[in-house]
Structure formats: C-alpha cells, structure tokens
C-alpha cells in the first residue's frame, strides 16, 4: 500500500465567512476563546471597487502542512515533525517555546498554546484519523468549502477535485509546497 498523503482542496468561492470552521476547531481541539489562540482563520480579502461595482472574497486557511517545512527545519529540538501521511505535528514535550517556528512559518499558522506550554497549530485533527473521521472544520462547513483526503489516492474526492480543476497555492514563491490547494 502506497503511503497516504493528506491534503485539503478548498473552493474559497463558496465561503460564506460564517466562521463555523473556526468555532468547530476550537471545541474539537480545546482552544479557549482568546484573540491569538486559533488554528484556523477566514481572511476577508480587500474589498475591490467602489459602490456600486464592488466584489468581496474570503480566504479560509490554516497550517498548509508544507512538504518543505520551514517550521521544522528551524526547530532546535525537533519538536515539530511529520506523520507518515505528511501531517506536520508538534511534540509538546519537546517544545521549548523558542518561537523560531513562528518566525519561520510564512503563513502565520502557529500560536502559543499557554495551556500546554507549547507552540501549537492545525493538526488536520489527527486525533480523528483512527476512526477515519474528517477534520472538524471540513465536516461542519455549510457549503463544503474544504475537501480533505489522500492526495496519493487518485480515487479520493480530493484528488479528483485537484485533477479536475485549476488550483493555486498560497505564497508559492516561498517554495514550501503546501498541502492546501485552492480551486481557481
């Protein structure tokens, strides 16, 4: 069996900016309310045009689970590591809170989890994997902006979407090779 490669394909045009995904993540991953404590966000892109010819788009995002992983390369204790499926995870015991990864991450995906005394970020809800459940943000979305799956399996919905559509990644110039693919 080929190894799995988890990723998410997003159709941001469907995003309502409803915040269901951000709230779901907080409960699933026990993140307390607080300004800086989040693993997932929805950016309101700049409004284009002037009244009445205007357009507005949203960009939901989270850790890109980069294949070239700057946050891991800079980590002095190897607290940041990759699962066999390429999910970028953190060993909270090894984290010494040096915050080098926070600086290295081009996506501002990391935050300090003061309750765990470690740097934290999206884990693709790795705790759900044994039961084969979708990540919380994927499952709860009213319009199904995100499709999660094994990008090595051509039959997965995510792979099919990727094959069928033109997609882009965020900040390609950083050469991080993100596992989040946005449909154009």
């Amino acid at each position: 069996m080929a190894t799995k490669k988890f990723g998410i394909v997003l159709d941001a045009k469907k995003c309502l900016n409803c915040k269901a995904c951000t709230v779901a993540c907080k409960f699933e991953n026990t993140i307390h309310p607080g300004e800086d404590d989040y693993r997932i966000w929805v950016t309101e892109l700049e409004l284009k045009g002037t009244y009445p010819n205007i357009s507005q788009e949203y960009q939901p995002s989270q850790c890109q689970h980069c294949e070239n992983t700057p946050c891991a390369s800079v980590c002095p204790t190897k607290a940041t590591y990759k699962s066999p499926e390429g999910v970028v995870l953190i060993d909270y015991d090894k984290c010494i809170l040096c915050k080098a990864c926070m600086t290295a991450c081009p996506y501002d995906a990391r935050y300090e989890n003061v309750h765990l005394h470690a740097i934290d970020k999206c884990t693709f809800c790795y705790q759900r994997q044994p039961e084969g459940r979708e990540p919380a943000c994927v499952e709860t979305c009213p319009t199904r902006v995100r499709v999660f799956g094994d990008l090595n399996d051509p039959e997965s919905e995510a792979s099919k979407l990727l094959a069928r559509n033109h997609t882009y990644q965020l900040k390609p110039e950083r050469n991080t090779r993100p596992r989040l693919h946005y449909i154009k």
């Binding site: 309502l16 269901a20 709230v23 699933e28 307390h32 309310p33 699962s83 044994p130």
Partner: protein, 771 residues
C-alpha cells in the same frame, strides 16, 4: 491507561502512527479532554448522543460528543439531510451554553426596583407558587383571564408554554411572527394558499429580494445556493446593502428601499406583454389573469427604473431570463420580512411571477412544504367564563395604526385594524399599543417564554413603558435577557443540551422530524419548560379561585386526561406517542436523532387530481378573490413611499451568520468573532459628514438615539445606514455585550404592516453625526 493529550502527541514519527493504530478508540478520544469551564460531573467515559440544535430556528441535528459527563463538542449528524449535515458557528458554539458563566442557574425573584439587578435566589417550588398565586390574583382582580398575556418565542418547548397559557385560559398569546415573517406568509398565501419554499438546489434562475441567505442561515437554502448550485444557475440579489449574499450573486442591484415592488410589477408587465408566460398553466391553474394583465400595463420597466433605480434593460433581462428557465426559476419568498407597511402587497407581486411561468411544485421552482406525519394528543382545556377576546382584536376601531405619511396611507391598508391577524400569534405592535392605552380592557400581567421583546420589538421606550404598567412579569429563559432583566421573577430553563423536547416536523421540500434528548444532566438542576408548566399547573390546582368559572365535570376530565396523563407522565411517553406511527420510531429517534419517510425532495403534491388550493377560488389567485371583502386591493398596487430628506438616512436591519437575533451574543465563542456592532455608512456620505472609519457617531431617530462606531464602506447605498442586531444591550446579566455597540430597538419607530399585523422595521429615518 488514560493518555494525556500531551503524552498522546508526544509519541513521535513512525512510532506515533503505530501508537495510533494500536490504541483503543476510547483512550484516543479521551486525549481531547473537554476544557472550557470547570463544572464537575460524576460521570466517566465517552458517548455520542443524537439531538438537535436550538441556537436558531433550524434545529439542525448533531451528535453531542460527551466526555465524562461534559459536552466536549457537537458534531453534525450525517443523517440530517435538511441541513446537508452541517453545523454553523452558532451550532458549534452551543456546546458552551450549559457552561456559560452567566447562564441562569436558579429561580430569581426581584429584590429591589425593576431593572436594579437585585435578585434573591429561590427554589423552583417557591417560584411555581408565586406564579400560581399571581395568576389567581389577576383572575380575581380583573375577572378576565385575558388580562394576563403570554409571550413566547419559537422552539420545541414553546408548546409546553402554550399548554400553560391554555390551562390558564388567556386568549392573549403573542408569538414572534409579527416581528418577523407574518407578511411574507400572508403575501404568498394570498396567491397559493400556503407559504412555500424555493428549491435552490435545482433552480436555474433565482431572484432574491433582500433575503440574505449567506448570513441569515436557513436550511437547506443557505447550503444549497452554493454547495449544490446547478451549473449555470444565475443568482440576482436586490438589496440596498452589499451582503455576503450579494457578494455571491451574479448580479447585485442596490435597489432603492421601499421600491422593490416596482421591480416585480415591471417584471410581470414584461412577462405578460411579451407573452413569456406559461399559457396552459395560467389557464388551468390560476384565477384573475385578465385583471392582472390590465392592471400591470401602467407598470412599464421604464416607469419602474425611475422608482427603484434599476435600469429598465436589467428588469427586462430578468423577466426574460426568468421565463426562459421556467419552471426552474424562483423569486425567493424570504423570512424576516418586517420591512415596509405595504410588505404584503410586495410579497404578492413576488408570488405572482412564478405562478405566471408555471414554476410551481416542480424541481427548481416554488414548492409547497411537506411535513412528516406525527401524532399529537388532542388536549381539551376547560372553558372559562371570565375570558375576553384577544386584546389586539378587541382594539380594532379604537385607535389608528401607526403608518408613515405618504401615498401608502391613503388606500389599500386598514387604518385602525389588522386584516388577517394570526389568531394564536397576534400582532405585536397593535398589542403593545392596546396595552399602553389600557383599552378596551387592561392587561396587567405577563408570562414570557424566551421572547426578548425589549430588544426584539421596535421602540424600546414604549416596551419599557408597557412593562412598567404590569402588576407582575415572569420570565422563563436560559439567560438574563433584557426582558428578564426587567422582570419580577425569572425562572431558568435547562439549556437544550440538558433536556428532552417533543418531536417536531420540519416542513419543507425535504421534510424531516427531530426532537431532543438530554445529552448531559442539567449542570444546575434546572428544569425544562414542560416540567415548569407541570409545576405551575400543580400549584394552580391547589387554588380554588382559579377554577370557579368553569364546569366541574370538564375540570375533572382535564385533570385526568391532561394533568395526570400528560403533565405527570414522563415527556418520553409523549414523544413515544408522537412517533407511534413509525416502526421502532422511538428507538430510531434515540439512535439517529431524526425520523422521516424519505430523504428525497417531495414534489408534485398539488398536481394530484382534484387538488384544491387553499384559496377562496381553489386556484392560484393572481387576483385575490377575498381581499376586496376587507377593502384591500385584489392586485398589488404600487404607492410611492416617502424617502429620507437631505441629511437623513433610512435605517435598515440585518445580521451576520454568527449570531441569532438577541440570543447568542453573550456566548464567548461567538462574542470573540464580533464584540460590538458598527454603523455601516457609505464612504461618500461619510466624507460629507466628516466621519472617518472608527469615529464614534450618534444615530438619532424620532424615538431614540444610540452611539456607535462608524464603519465607512462601499457596501451600502448612500441613502441608507445599517448596524447588526443584538448589541447595545441593557441587561447587566449579559456582560459581554452590555452597552457594547448600538441597539436597534432603541431607535426603530413602531410602524405596522396592517394586513398581516407584522412590524414595519425599515421605515425609520435617522440622522448621523459625530459624537
């Protein structure tokens, strides 16, 4: 061994995967120990309980993930096809409700002036005794059971509250529709006999006047219009504000407020004059085409352009596209339509368009709602001598409706009554006015179930005055709402995660029935409305004066068939009876959280031979047959609305997807998304007034003023301003939003749409100046 979250994630690299595979699921799930709040329970272990959401009207199904007796998370129920198996931000944040530090925990009786926030804790038993005693006093003093008004909000326990109202015998029940959707129900029913749905999952051409489905979530419409949008579907949105729905539209028309009817009438004009309508459908199914045809000749697209500021060519394009894609074309009926005083006429115009093109009861069209058949016990309440007719109805002829001074006041609208007042719902605005006048009889006591009218009803000053006139006010709620804050007795209800609720059929194209079972034990020994009604009725039965104006025999039957058989029995028995027509219905409910006949869309019910529409003629009425009996226009007549003068703005309402009305702002997980509201003002207008983004401004109407931060934006017409509902609160028991931002109720003038009795909340003009 219970793995700690830290230890679990500490396993590294390949060993991690092995650990995951080997570990049993229970311990894995335990890694995500619930964290917020600190209520202790004796329970150990994990479970997933099917129930349904109460953070808004949609009642989406979920499985509550319960860890050691605490709600850890609510996950969407994959079988809940009506919501397309989602949970919105509020639905997720609901997991916090039982643990919200400011939730009501014990009954409170006022221990100071009203609104002084001084309370004394009492037991439920004492609370029930007080209510029964006060009900008895009101009956003895006023010799009219209708002197006690029963206000309630929609929900699965509203029926339990209505049981209390009916046991007492007051006819004054005041429900939420006349602050919300009664005008769209009336308008569409006047054409089709029912208030139908629009099939957004299959429609090819959608005109959405004002409805904001991207932010005011309605299942399944809010999901379907993006998630299952058919290839090539076109969405046209009319709204003075660039909502998220407008942002998703193919065309956004920033329509001039109060002129939307001109757009619809001109569409009708084009469809008829260009003969784009469905001739067979019109001939076989409808009534009054010729009258309609003659009537709309005056409403040309060129005329409409001058009224609504949407170019004539665009109107023509809409009419032609609509007809081209028919029957897969819809004008969206909408829900909260308490906009203008002539809203019913506007909704009639909307409803006529799909009827002309035969977009009825087929996929992609306008479709009558279907339900899931449930059994409900017939309860016989005693008849009492001391009961007067509804106050709002008795008030007809006593005083004039509050209508703005313009052409609409001159004809077509009842001036001192409500043409089709909902018998159980009432008309909120007319009701309050009659209470304030004390005529034709006094209403002196209020029982309120979760209706937060202090912030929900326009003209807060008047509402507070009405409350001042009361001998006694009892509020039942889960939080110290603004209305609870001014009450004399506050009785906490259990949150929806802690109680059992009866089964409810959610009617629509995809009908499904759901219920609630307790996911956790009540955190603070609170009770459900069903139990509260039971407790109050038991105390009432101990007071003989409450029963001396009814037949003794009837009373005995009532005690046996209702009090003993229903109120004293577990609510589960009631639920079992409701689903007794289904094989293993109750077991299915417990396991799946839902019950249904089919998970496919239901179409064509009205195509069956011999079907009679619930209109007077039995057909779809393009020209209404019964309206003229009441002096109402048989056809929608456009009469020009007044518009704001120089220096004035029209205040328009709305909300965002993360809050419901006034109920959810004090939940920390939602509050952190939006901490206060802001006044949307068009950037050019702001410049004229010297207002910069973030400036504090005073918004002033004829009934009140509020101070709020300005949000200078391109997203609104220059003649309108807007801020979201649910902020600027007066209750100190909702400390996150107490006096944060601005209140709508404080500045809204209280006009009425007098055909359905709905409030008209988009008729208020304000000035804006720097604070």
């Amino acid at each position: 061994m219970k793995l700690s979250r830290r230890k679990f994630l500490a396993a590294s690299g390949g060993a991690f995967a092995a650990a995951v595979a080997a570990a049993n699921l229970t311990s894995l799930k335990a890694v995500a120990e619930s964290g917020h709040g600190d209520a202790q329970t004796g329970e150990k272990g994990e479970k997933h309980i099917a129930s349904s959401c109460e953070m808004c009207v949609n009642k989406c199904g979920f499985y509550a993930h319960v860890v050691n007796g605490r709600i850890k998370k609510l996950n969407p129920n994959p079988r809940f096809f009506k919501s397309r198996a989602m949970l919105c931000a509020r639905g997720n944040a609901g997991a916090e409700e039982p643990y919200n530090p400011e939730r009501l925990k014990t009954p409170l009786v006022r221990d100071g002036e009203r609104g002084s926030n001084k309370w004394r804790k009492i037991s439920y038993e004492e609370a029930f005794q007080i209510v029964a005693q006060k009900l008895a006093e009101a009956k003895t003093k006023y010799e009219n059971r209708s002197s006690v008004a029963f206000f309630s909000s929609e929900g699965l326990q509203e029926g339990s509250f209505q049981m209390l109202a009916q046991t007492y015998g007051s006819l004054n029940t005041v429900r939420h529709p006349s602050l919300c959707l009664s005008s769209t129900i009336q308008g569409w029913s006047s054409v089709y006999g029912v208030y139908p749905d629009a099939d957004l999952a299959n429609a090819m051409f959608v005109v959405m006047p004002g409805a904001n489905r991207a932010e005011a979530l309605v299942t399944p419409d809010s999901m379907d219009f993006l998630r299952y949008r058919p290839k090539g579907q076109q969405l046209v949105v009319l709204d003075p504000r660039f909502t998220n729905t407008a942002a998703k539209a193919d065309k956004w028309y920033p329509v001039k407020p109060a002129t939307d009817m001109a757009f619809m009438l001109a569409m009708i004009n084009v469809i008829i004059n260009e003969e784009l309508y469905n001739k067979d459908f019109v001939a076989n199914m409808t009534e009054g085409f010729d009258e309609l045809k003659a009537h709309v000749q005056q409403y040309t697209p060129e005329w409409a352009e001058k009224e609504c500021e949407i170019p004539a060519d665009e109107i023509k394009w809409c009419a032609r596209e609509f007809a081209k894609y028919a029957p897969r074309s819809v004008i969206y009926p909408g829900r909260r339509t308490s906009w203008y005083v002539d809203d019913v006429a506007f909704r009639r115009a909307c409803a006529i368009i799909p009827a002309l093109c035969g977009c009825w009861d087929v996929p992609g069209g306008i479709v009558p709602k279907s339900g899931v058949p449930l059994k409900n016990p017939d309860i016989m309440y005693p008849f009492y001598d001391m009961v007067e007719e509804r106050l709002d109805v008795e008030s007809f002829g006593e005083f004039d409706n509050n209508l703005p001074d313009d052409a609409r006041k001159e004809a077509g609208l009842p001036t001192d009554s409500v043409a089709y007042l909902g018998e159980k719902d009432g008309s909120w605005i007319r009701f309050r006015e009659a209470v304030l006048r004390g005529e034709p009889y006094p209403v002196k006591m209020m029982m309120v179930y979760k209706q937060n009218f202090v912030e929900a009803a326009p003209n807060r000053a008047k509402t507070l005055k009405m409350m001042e006139m009361m001998d006694f006010i009892c509020m039942i709620d889960i939080q110290m709402s603004d209305t609870a804050f001014y009450a004399d007795l506050v009785i906490p209800e259990s949150t929806y995660l802690e109680r059992w609720d009866v089964v409810h059929s959610l009617a629509g194209i995809w009908p499904i029935a759901t219920f609630r079972q307790a996911c956790i034990e009540p955190v603070y020994q609170t009770k459900s409305m069903f139990e509260i009604t039971g407790g109050i009725v038991d105390e009432m039965l101990k007071i003989p004066e409450l029963w001396d104006d009814t037949d003794e025999e009837e009373l005995e039957y009532f005690k046996e068939d209702f009090v003993e058989a229903i109120l004293h029995a577990p609510i589960q028995d009631y639920i079992k009876y409701q689903v007794s027509g289904f094989e293993n219905g109750y077991e299915k409910l417990l396991k799946d959280g839902v019950i249904y006949k089919t998970d496919q869309g239901v179409y064509g019910q009205s195509a069956k031979p011999g079907y009679r529409f619930k209109t007077r003629s039995g057909k779809i009425e393009l020209t209404n047959v019964k309206y003229p009996d009441k002096g109402l226009d048989a056809l929608p007549v456009y009469r020009r609305a007044r518009q704001p003068k120089d220096g004035q703005f029209r205040f328009i309402l709305g909300r965002h997807g993360w809050n419901t009305h006034t109920g959810t702002q004090n939940n920390e997980f939602l509050w952190e998304i939006q901490k206060e509201n802001t006044l949307w003002i068009n950037s050019k207008e702001a410049l004229k007034l010297g207002i910069k983004n973030g400036d504090r401004v005073v918004v002033k109407s004829s009934v009140g003023e509020q101070t709020v931060k300005a949000e200078v934006t391109e997203k609104i017409r220059p003649d309108c301003v807007f801020y979201a509902h649910g902020f600027g609160r007066v209750s100190k028991g909702m400390s996150l939003v107490y006096q944060k931002g601005a209140s709508q109720a404080a500045i809204l003038e209280d006009y009425i749409e007098p055909i359905s009795g709905n409030a008209a909340m988009h008729e208020t003009f304000v000035t804006v100046s720097k604070a």
